[in-house]
Symmetry: C2
Subunit: 401 residues, 2 copies
């Protein structure tokens, strides 16, 4: 057997409990987690087959059905982050010989494509301009050009702040016998998704965005049409960990052990979903919409532009153009260091050009938004960018509501 | 846009905060989580690129290197449970055209095989009897019979309580140009693994076993030999989420965003690893070994047999034969309901025949072990199985230490 001396005393004390500053997150995920959600994780960890935990799972499923607005019986959180949900969606939907139409218009659509490229399926790409949604006519042309088994796209593109309209997409996909796969990592519970109403076949999200739990789980739901596709696969899903047929035996009635569920993260998700149900989806959407309008009004009063035209803007993630002459990275660093506020920078081709402001879950509250606008004004002034405060304009939006 | 009425008041109150009984877990994972580890998860969630979180990641890596006993620079927690670590290990190691020798001797070795069967690599199977380790001569014969690129096996098989000796396996694997992949999900930090000393090329574990954090992360480490294999792959890894070349850019010096790390789970892992470093690996191994010996002595005093012969027993997971005439499932249910103690049942061909007792992390403490032996005695008496108490025999082991 390996034998090593015990570490010397100073080595034993080398690592200290971790200290965390009181950040307020306006990045588009992770988002601020309500205290009761954090506290839920301090509950005693149960076994993954403990009847009490199985009951918790049933309630998580019921609440996810409410949040996804679906009656889908196969609805559960994938044991990984949003990208794990993305991979589970793609891997279960397609196999060798399948065409899949994919519509990237930013980093997360490109990630969908990158995942499809790891499968033996063939991607048919409809690439959009960053900052704009995909034109539906181009999607239809792509569906017509191949024998599509799925159409995959992102609802609210976190890298550009664009929302893709979901209405009508299912009719289009189903007309060509394709499943509709929609990424709602950023949007779910912050703006309407409507899985059943919009006939989405596979829809996934992330725990750490509008849902307001820590990152680590990816809620997902499968329509009967998607399950039928699973049943008639010719080849196994290329990941054992993400194979829904196996996972469903644990989340469904059979309760067959698949892998050990992340117990504490599921406690957090349970509480976060409970808070959503208590607020009600409509009220929550309205709160997000109002925060979005107040942010835009505040920024416009500061003479700062949005990247996306009003009709295509996502409510939950806002792409804000860094004003001419301002060092966007410095402003973000000062917001973080001087004000404990986190705003994200641009990704890929938008690096340095935009700030990304998430108004998701807790961050879409009035008092937080006003704090952000005030701090941004102070930092911009200190950086030599002369502008008015955006507070009055934002408050006016709230007053008028 | 979808429009739905707000839920009626009774619907809003349908779900209540989740209540958890004070279970003490003797299942072989999840295991009892120390209070400071649970508390660590209540810290403010930081952004995944926040400099303060990046520092936390550096400390996690440094502590994982201590626990794995390795200098491997690519050492980090996979964002999923132990099975995710298994999949990451296999997917990164092999590709189409590769032979891989795999040695199942229980459920988790069979899972390794099931995952290999999802890859385009070819498994060469050395199957052992459940309850016994794999014979090294059979492993060598298999390595000789093909052109192996990897040899994969489980160190402590959670389903049977068998420990496979690790010494000499690397020399064997490397002689045939195969990477050595070892599953230490159950064993890491509970009994010696010695990644560098035993020249293991890819070694993975789970946060929820001896490490004592909640389930949700899978620590993994790659030798330079394994990284060289990654660099010379002809095809991409079949999972984007588990592609170590991408993840390493985030955990390494480049800090390039890959996917959002499970922030709170990493806080928990940081604190759990800190407690391990404070105790020291040698002290921790000794504590586990002592608990194991005390359990066996107690059970033998109760006239209960172990499944595995002494020289092949894992320290951390104990396969206990259900005595003749006793209903094993009833005993487990009574332990849970009457005593809040969880013991696991047998899996697969051992269903109903054994109990599986995890002595992992917190559960391998003297006071907990004695509580288990006492409760088991009470339940067995109540079930009509006449036996002595195992307490005195167990206490003797502790007294003699």
């Amino acid at each position: 057997m390996t034998s090593k001396p015990s570490p010397p005393a100073q080595e034993k004390k080398r690592f200290q409990p971790f200290q965390v500053p009181p950040r307020l997150l306006f990045s588009p995920g992770p988002t601020p987690v309500p205290p009761s959600v954090l506290q839920a994780m301090t509950k005693t960890v149960l076994g993954h087959l403990d009847p009490v935990f199985l009951h918790c799972m049933d309630e998580i499923k019921a609440m996810l059905q409410i949040v996804f607005e679906t009656a889908n019986r196969v609805t559960f959180p994938v044991s990984g982050t949003g990208s794990a949900g993305m991979e589970a969606a793609v891997f279960n939907a397609v196999e060798a010989g399948d065409d899949i139409v994919v519509c990237p218009m930013g980093v997360f659509g490109e990630r969908l494509l990158a995942i499809i490229e790891r499968t033996p399926a063939h991607p048919v790409i409809v690439r959009g301009e960053w900052g704009e949604p995909i034109e539906v006519s181009k999607i239809e042309a792509a569906l017509q050009s191949c024998r599509p088994r799925a159409l995959a796209l992102v609802h609210a593109e976190t890298s550009t702040g664009v929302a893709q309209r979901l209405e009508g997409l299912a009719e289009l996909a189903h007309k060509y016998d394709a499943l509709l796969i929609v990424d709602t990592v950023a949007s779910l519970s912050g703006q309407p998704v409507g899985v059943d109403e919009n006939q989405i076949d596979i829809c996934y999200s992330g725990s750490q965005k509008c849902i307001g739990a820590p990152p680590g789980l990816a809620p997902i739901t499968f329509s009967e049409r998607a399950l039928e596709r699973l049943r008639t696969r010719r080849t196994p899903v290329q990941s054992w960990y993400f194979d829904v047929t196996g996972i469903e035996k644990y989340w469904g009635q059979e309760r067959t052990y698949h892998h050990t569920a992340p117990i504490s993260m599921n406690y957090a998700l349970h509480e976060a979903l409970r808070l959503i149900c208590e607020e009600g989806l409509e009220g929550r959407w309205a709160r997000h919409e109002l925060a979005h309008r107040a942010l835009v009004a505040g920024l416009e009063a500061m003479n700062i532009q949005m990247l996306v035209t009003p009709e295509h803007r996502a409510v939950v993630v806002n792409a804000v153009c860094v004003p001419e002459g301002v060092d966007g990275a410095r402003v973000r660093a000062r917001l973080l260091e001087e004000h404990n506020l986190e705003v994200a920078g641009g990704l890929g081709q938008l690096r340095g050009k935009i700030w990304r402001v998430g108004l998701m879950g807790e961050s879409s509250r009035r008092e937080h938004l006003l704090r952000l606008l005030d701090a941004l004004h102070q930092v911009l002034q200190a950086e030599g960018y002369a502008c008015d405060s955006g507070l009055a304009a934002a408050e006016q939006v709230y007053a008028a509501s």
